[in-house]
């Protein structure tokens, strides 16, 4: 039993940290201390990941414990540590209760990690809900402006509907197959089409796909994305765009990889349609935005579409490509929202494109980091995003998904236009005379995390071999 408990110690660490922070806050509100404790909890969870890799047996408490899970758990924990660091500076001047923010972040991370590890519908749903509920509160947390509440409601309503879809889908699949174990359902799926009453399975799957599509911000389930990304506090937006998405991608791969989706099957068409639509809609709609957070929201819709292209390629290469791409996407997304968050406070988000004019003169460090992040999102060379996009295209071409690959190439070229708009705004001279808002001083934690992200991004862009090997060893 102790051996069993030790192999899920990352999850225990996260849960314990959340409880501990909650208890301590009841005694005394110490903002810096709580932030430090949260980071310690995340660090403890990360450092116990090797126990998860070596776990024997692999299936425990409805969880799958192996290298794949450890990889995604590690990625999610690190991303949420970055978000905690951004939050720390973001809420520094905030006068109301703010320690609870960290509790919610820990709980959301726990939910995401459970979701990434889930091997059973029960844990799947548990993780999904824990993540969603924490995110509703996080989105509304500062409630300084109308925007926060509005965003929270816009997130709450569709997210609860998607949870209901998920639950109903699970029930239908269970009714058809009598199975709740994810890995076995995957194998059932491969053989499913020989059964006569296949439609129950299809209906159930469709509902699960809707729920996941919602979380991944895939078109046509993307309508909430720009509003929530815009309205949520910047560190929470970073969290939604990375941790929440990454956990669902981990689940998506676990559920559908054993199914070996064949070109031309119903599932293939469904995912192919969503991929194409996301790439087109995301990149096209981003062209018309004047708000940096909205641009990044549409860009994240497009990136989900890119991920699906590699996902559809199937096989081991697809898992590696998607996992590697997620690393590059996480780095760039965290970095760019990190910059937004470093320039914002709960009451005043610096989010319009005009607010970024002349940033290169005002704060060269942030402008340089932002440039690198945007270049990576755009997939330009010398950044990790270039290698990531190359790997996706490689997977797509390898599986001969020609229409999707061509759409990927064309839409991502189109997408460059809005990334370039951000870059040009950074480097043009600031409008003269206008009242410049006092810029918040760059805190040490932000500077440290952003530097780390930028260095990693550049390093992976120039020397991707070690990270590729790591991904291969962990998820392969």
């Amino acid at each position: 039993m102790t051996a069993a408990l030790s192999s899920i110690s990352p999850l225990i660490c996260l849960g314990a940290a959340a409880v501990l922070v909650m208890l301590l806050v009841a005694l005394r509100r110490a903002y810096t201390g709580m932030a430090a404790l949260t980071l310690v909890g995340l660090g403890a969870a990360f450092s116990t990941l090797p126990l998860m890799v070596d776990s024997n047996p692999h299936r425990l408490f409805f969880l799958m414990l192996n290298g794949y899970t450890a990889f995604y758990a590690g990625l999610l924990i690190l991303a949420s540590a970055a978000c905690v660091a951004f939050t720390f500076s973001y809420l520094k001047e905030f006068e109301r209760n703010r320690e609870e923010f960290f509790i919610l972040m820990l709980l959301a991370t726990l939910g995401a990690t459970v979701l990434a590890a889930a091997d059973h519908f029960a844990t799947f749903f548990l993780g999904f809900e824990l993540l969603s509920v924490s995110l509703y509160s996080l989105t509304a947390f500062p409630s300084m402006t109308q925007g926060h509440i509005e965003a929270a409601v816009k997130y709450l309503v569709p997210a609860s509907v998607s949870s209901a879809f998920l639950l109903f889908g699970m029930a239908l699949i269970y009714a058809w197959s009598g199975e709740m174990s994810i890995s076995r359902i995957g194998h059932e799926l491969r053989a499913a089409h020989i059964h006569a009453d296949y439609q129950w399975m299809v209906a159930g799957l469709a509902m699960i796909v809707v729920a996941m599509g919602f979380k991944l911000a895939l078109a046509p389930f993307h309508l909430w994305t720009p509003d929530v990304y815009q309205g949520a506090p910047a560190p929470v937006t970073a969290f939604i765009a990375t941790v929440s998405k990454g956990a669902v991608v981990a689940m998506l791969l676990r559920l559908f990889t054993p199914a070996e989706i064949q070109t031309g099957s119903t599932l293939f068409w469904v995912f192919g349609f969503m991929a194409a639509l996301s790439m087109i809609a995301g990149n096209l709609l981003a062209l018309f935005q004047e708000n940096v957070k909205r641009i990044l929201a549409y860009s994240s819709i497009a990136h989900s579409g890119y991920i699906l292209v590699a996902f559809l390629a199937g096989g081991a290469r697809a898992i590696e490509a998607v996992s590697f791409y997620l690393i590059t996407y996480f780095l760039a997304t965290l970095g760019s929202f990190g910059v937004v968050s470093a320039l914002s406070t709960p009451g005043m988000e610096r989010e319009n494109l005009d607010d970024y004019r002349g940033l290169a003169r005002q704060n060269p460090f942030l402008a340089a980091v932002f440039t690198l992040m945007v270049l990576s999102l755009a997939g330009l060379p010398l950044t990790a995003g270039f290698i990531g996009k190359f790997y996706l295209t490689l997977a797509g071409v390898g599986a001969a998904l020609w229409p999707l690959v061509i759409i990927l190439a064309l839409t991502s070229a189109m997408g460059l236009y809005y990334y370039l708009r951000i870059l040009v705004a950074l480097f043009v001279l600031a409008p003269s005379g206008g009242d410049r808002r006092p810029k918040p001083p760059l805190s040490f934690s932000n500077a440290f995390v952003l530097t780390l992200l930028a260095v990693l991004l550049f390093w992976i862009g120039v020397m991707p071999a070690p990270v590729l090997n790591l991904v291969r060893a962990m998820v392969g």
Partner: protein, 505 residues
């Protein structure tokens, strides 16, 4: 090692230039000049003491079979020399023009040059694509941040054209990678290995068109030329020089290095269409040049016309035409680069590029007038200057393959006469109606012009070193059994080409 150095010197110099701006905004240009001088020295050293051939191989991403494979043969060598030389000229041409954000300007300029050098040296297809992309973004910044009135439109157009075509090339590269891997079980991006890929006709056509679209957009050929006049008109002088002198040449280089050897049989099938496109570019580009009132825009359209010869010659495939193409690449780079520097100088002095408002400038600026005259004559194809050799050899080579296209293309000589003489007549001759009295070329500009004049004259009178340098490449291309295009006159070409290589002034 020296090859990696050639790519790194501009990049490091650019970073250095950016960094020195913190101390003094006037410092970056010296850093950039020093870096480009070092680059030119390194290239000359490579040419003189290493007889121009060098190789550099280091594994990069073994997972995908990607190596850093740099190789310099005669073709790469002459283009790297051109890059270093024009880079130096571009830095010098920006000397007084750029006064804002100087550090970032020189960083972008030098990074573009670094990317161009990388393109000319890479023999790994992934590496090639990597550098292909590296050179685009800084060029975008050069236009978007330091350009003229309509810069945002022009820079986005440039970027989208090149980016879309570049991504299609990536898809084609990957298709080739997988075809080779499936055939041999050995997945690699190495050019030498991929040369041996057996391709079915339809696959070869499709993959070739992926490559070709990237190169033809860069070249540019009609109907993909519309980004060029906009980009040129709006770019700062140094940007125009690099754009016309080097970026267009990467497209030509890509056709020579990749399209012709990799897809020999598909090239033969596609040749009539490509040659037709070349001839249309020659004539249509010239026709559009007639209608321009903006001097920079006019020169941009003449580039379309001159690069048509490159497309025509490359796909004609005969030995003479290939030698001509290389000459044309070099000489057009120099002559158009010089023209853009001169127009930049005129604009700096007169604050206009309108042809109508110029005239009679010779008396005020004899040195500028003489240089403009010389390079307009080069562009016209005056014997004795390099461009003549290039275009003449292309025509000669095309005539062996298809007299029809050669006759049509030779009309290009007539049209280029018209616009070249036009440029001279409307700027430096005629009445000086506006009463211009600007200062003549400064010492710095005179040195640049003198160097470029000497070079174009040298290439025109004594082109043999270039032919000697590229002859292994051309002969190699011709020896591939599939590519020895129309067989009948092969005996004759050998004789003519021997004559070419034996030609001395």
């Amino acid at each position: 090692m020296i090859l990696a150095g050639l790519i790194l010197i501009p990049a490091v110099g650019g970073l250095l230039a950016w960094f020195t701006e913190r101390f003094n905004p006037a410092r970056p240009k010296f850093a950039a000049l020093a870096a480009m001088a070092a680059e030119l020295l390194a290239a000359v050293y490579l040419a003189a003491f290493r007889s121009g051939s060098a190789r550099f191989v280091v594994p990069w991403i073994p997972r995908f079979g990607i190596t850093i494979h740099l190789y310099c043969d005669g073709l790469s060598l002459v283009l790297v020399l051109l890059t270093a030389f024009l880079g130096l000229a571009a830095v010098a041409s920006a000397w007084t023009e750029i006064n804002e954000r100087t550090g970032f300007f020189y960083f972008n300029l030098l990074l573009t040059l670094s990317g161009v050098t990388g393109v000319f040296l890479s023999l790994d297809l992934f590496l090639f694509y990597f550098f292909w992309e590296v050179m685009i973004l800084p060029m975008y910044f050069l236009i978007a941040l330091w350009g003229h009135e309509n810069r945002v439109y022009a820079s986005c157009k440039f970027f989208l054209f090149t980016q879309v075509s570049g991504l299609l090339m990536l898809v084609a590269i990957l298709a080739l990678y997988f075809l080779h891997g499936q055939n041999t079980g050995h997945y690699t991006f190495d050019y030498i290995q991929l040369l041996k890929t057996p391709l079915s006709h339809s696959a070869a056509m499709l993959i070739m068109s992926g490559f070709l679209i990237a190169f033809v957009v860069k070249l540019p050929s009609v109907p993909f030329h519309s980004w060029l006049p906009d980009a040129h008109t709006e770019a700062p002088t140094a940007g125009s020089v690099v754009l016309a002198g080097l970026l267009l040449k990467t497209g030509a280089y890509g056709i020579l290095r990749f399209v012709l050897p990799l897809f020999a049989s598909a090239v033969r099938h596609f040749a009539p269409i490509a040659m037709a496109l070349g001839v249309v570019s020659i004539l249509y580009g010239a026709l559009l040049a007639f209608g321009q009132r903006d001097l920079k825009r006019m020169i941009a359209y003449t580039s379309v016309s001159h690069m048509g010869f490159v497309l025509l010659g490359a796909f004609a495939g005969s030995r003479l035409a290939l030698y001509g193409v290389v000459m044309q690449i070099l000489c057009h780079g120099i002559s158009t680069g010089a023209l853009f520097i001169l127009v930049g100088g005129l604009r700096e002095r007169l604050h206009t590029r309108e042809l109508d408002s110029m005239g009679g400038l010779w008396s005020a600026m004899p040195r500028l007038g003489a240089s403009l005259m010389l390079f307009a004559m080069a562009s016209l194809g005056l014997p004795g200057l390099g461009n003549f050799i290039g275009e003449f050899l292309v025509l000669l080579g095309v005539f062996q393959v298809s007299p029809f296209w050669a006759v049509l293309a030779s009309l290009g000589f007539v049209t280029s006469c018209v616009y070249s003489v036009w440029i001279v007549q409307r700027t430096i001759h005629g009445p000086n109606t506006r009463g211009w009295n600007p200062p003549d070329l400064s010492g710095r500009e005179t040195v640049v012009m003198a160097a470029m004049s000497v070079l174009i004259l040298w290439l025109g009178l004594f082109p043999r070193p270039v032919f000697t340098a590229v002859s292994p490449f051309v002969e190699n291309l011709r020896q591939k059994p599939q590519s020895s295009a129309p067989a009948p006159e092969s005996g004759r070409t050998t004789g003519v080409s021997r004559a070419v290589r034996g030609r001395t002034p």
